[in-house]
């Protein structure tokens, strides 16, 4: 069985992955127009400025949309069915993620429910995933 895919950082994304390794969700914002954005890149997508900076996001988000796939990707055979979600960070940007600590059912996954980031080890990197605000007992 193939393992799950491991992201390979590039120079412009390394600070994001360094943040994950430190248990922080670090994203970028424009120092000129102030707008936060994701995914990491060296230019503000709102105003085109190269004057961008990293900051640590709160890690709080809401569930924007998702699917529950019954057809697993290579490496995910033991997980199916599993949810592939897009969350909206409290700071505004959205990112794809997995949902941890909740059943992969429409009943358990309500759009707009609050979620909190946590990090899962994947090969050489820590991968941000999202789960309920109250950690599971």
């Amino acid at each position: 069985m193939t393992g799950k895919p491991v992201p390979v950082p590039t120079p412009e994304t390394q600070p994001f992955w360094d943040g994950c390794a430190a248990g922080e969700l670090r994203i970028q914002r424009c120092a000129d127009c102030g707008r936060p954005y994701f995914y990491p890149r060296p230019v503000c997508p709102a105003c085109g400025s190269r004057n961008v900076e990293w900051f640590t996001a709160s890690g709080r988000a809401t569930l924007y949309s998702y699917v529950i796939t019954h057809r697993p990707a290579p490496g995910f055979e033991d997980d199916a069915p599993y949810a592939i979600a897009v969350v909206e960070l409290d700071e505004g940007p959205r990112m794809m993620t997995s949902i941890a600590g909740l059943p992969a059912t429409p009943e358990a996954l309500e759009l707009d429910m609050p979620l909190l980031v946590r990090f899962e080890r994947r090969g050489d990197v820590s991968l941000p995933v999202f789960g309920p605000l109250e950690p599971e007992r």
Binding site: K4, P5, V6, P7, V8, P9, T10, T13, Y39, Y64, S65, Y66, V67, I68, T69, H70, R71, P72, A73, P74, G75, F76, D79, P81, Y82, I84, A85, V86, R94, M95, M96, T97, S98, P106, L111, D112, R122, L127
Partner: protein
């Protein structure tokens, strides 16, 4: 002459067969489609001086296989809508005098994967870092993600989504070349297995082998070909996002809207002028997003519009009359087949012919709401 006016589709044809063709390589499918389209125009390969196709196998390979030495090349490869963009780019090239007769080819061994390149996302690409690690696995796990948001915002029901497949099967039933022709009900669709909730199997497109091609040339030559000319009246293209997670608003496609606006403006038409419509349907929600982006319904109303029967046989707006990607064929890059059906309807030679349409509009999608192309085609020069 402004915009795309003055350009026609002079030849259009698909491969002899569609479906499961393990005896055809990807390149063979291009070649067969090309030969059929050139013959349909009553031309020979020697008449072709421009070539356009997607990056694999690419215009150089296709031209060489056919013995064509082009003086104009377009390798735009932005997913299943690429062929609509090729028509747009060819129209510009013909008006500029860069080419006289352009051949646009599609071939894809989507099911049998004969001579097909392997799809692999680099682990260091943006998608490789920020989507692939979460277990995405092709279009069923990505193209589908926006819909739950749409359902929550606008109250689209599971039954309305299922009805998209029901309506298109009614067209497919009239088409001997359609892969699936047996009638289905909403209950049948909802009873088919869940592929990626909220999508059931019958709400996902087929995966087939096949191909097709077009011959595009100047309207000055209309009348000198084997079939009635189909006029290219308006064209549009746009792109939004390489990653579905970064689509700005999960309830609408900005690329669909921008491409549609450009094409309608160039053709100087409105939605009331459209007699026949094709909307790329890799999944059942895409026609809903397409109808709204092009302005055929208000936002949030396209699901009910389809469920009320408006787009099926006998309805006011015939949509996806070949059966679409859901029931006719879907090689992976379906756009070529949507154009082919528009051409057939305007020529009056479709299997499910809808009277004598004057205007047919084709909306193509590429990737997962990544890119869009729109063509406004007409029976008359406009």
């Amino acid at each position: 002459m402004t915009g795309a006016r003055g350009v026609i589709i002079a030849g259009a044809a698909e491969t002899d067969r569609l479906g499961r063709l393990p005896d055809h390589s990807t390149l063979q499918l291009h070649v067969e489609g090309a030969l059929n389209a050139v013959a349909d125009a009553g031309l020979s390969l020697r008449d072709i001086d421009g070539i356009a196709t997607v990056s694999a196998p690419g215009p150089v390979q296709v031209a060489h296989a056919l013995g064509i030495t082009p003086r104009w090349i377009d390798g735009t490869g932005v997913g299943g809508t690429s062929f609509l963009l090729h028509v747009r780019h060819a129209a510009a090239a013909i008006r500029a005098g860069y080419a006289r007769t352009v051949l646009i080819t599609h071939g894809e061994s989507g099911r049998s994967r004969v001579g097909a390149s392997r799809y692999r996302m680099e682990a260091s690409s943006p998608a490789g870092q920020f989507e692939v690690p979460y277990g995405v696995f092709g279009p069923t796990t990505t193209f589908t993600i926006p819909l739950l948001r749409y359902m929550k915002e606008f109250g689209l029901t599971h039954e309305q989504l299922a009805y998209v497949a029901v309506a298109q099967r009614r067209w497919a039933a009239k088409n001997p070349r359609a892969a699936y022709r047996d009638p289905v009900t909403v209950e049948d669709v909802l009873a088919s297995r869940i592929v990626a909730y909220p999508f059931h199997l019958l709400e996902c497109c087929l995966v087939t082998d096949g191909g097709g091609a077009l011959v595009v040339t100047s309207a000055e030559r209309a009348g000198s070909f084997g079939k009635p000319a189909v006029h290219v009246l308006g064209t549009g293209e746009s792109s939004e996002t390489p990653m579905i997670s970064q689509m700005a608003d999960f309830t609408e496609s900005a690329a669909f809207r921008l491409a549609g606006r450009a094409a309608f403006a160039e053709a100087r038409i409105g939605v009331a002028d459209v007699d026949h419509l094709m909307i790329y349907d890799a999944f059942a929600h895409v026609p809903i997003y397409g109808l709204e982006a092009l302005g055929f319904t208000a936002k949030g109303e396209a699901g009910a519009f389809i469920a009320d029967g408006n787009t099926e046989p006998g309805g006011s707006l015939p949509l996806n009359t070949n059966g679409g990607g859901l029931s006719y064929t879907h090689t992976g890059m379906y756009g070529m087949f949507a154009i082919q059906e528009g051409v057939r309807q305007l020529r009056g030679e479709a299997a499910a012919q809808v009277g004598s349409p004057q205007i047919s509009v084709i909306l193509g999608n590429g990737g997962m709401f990544a890119t869009a192309g729109v063509l406004v085609l007409g029976r008359e020069p406009g």
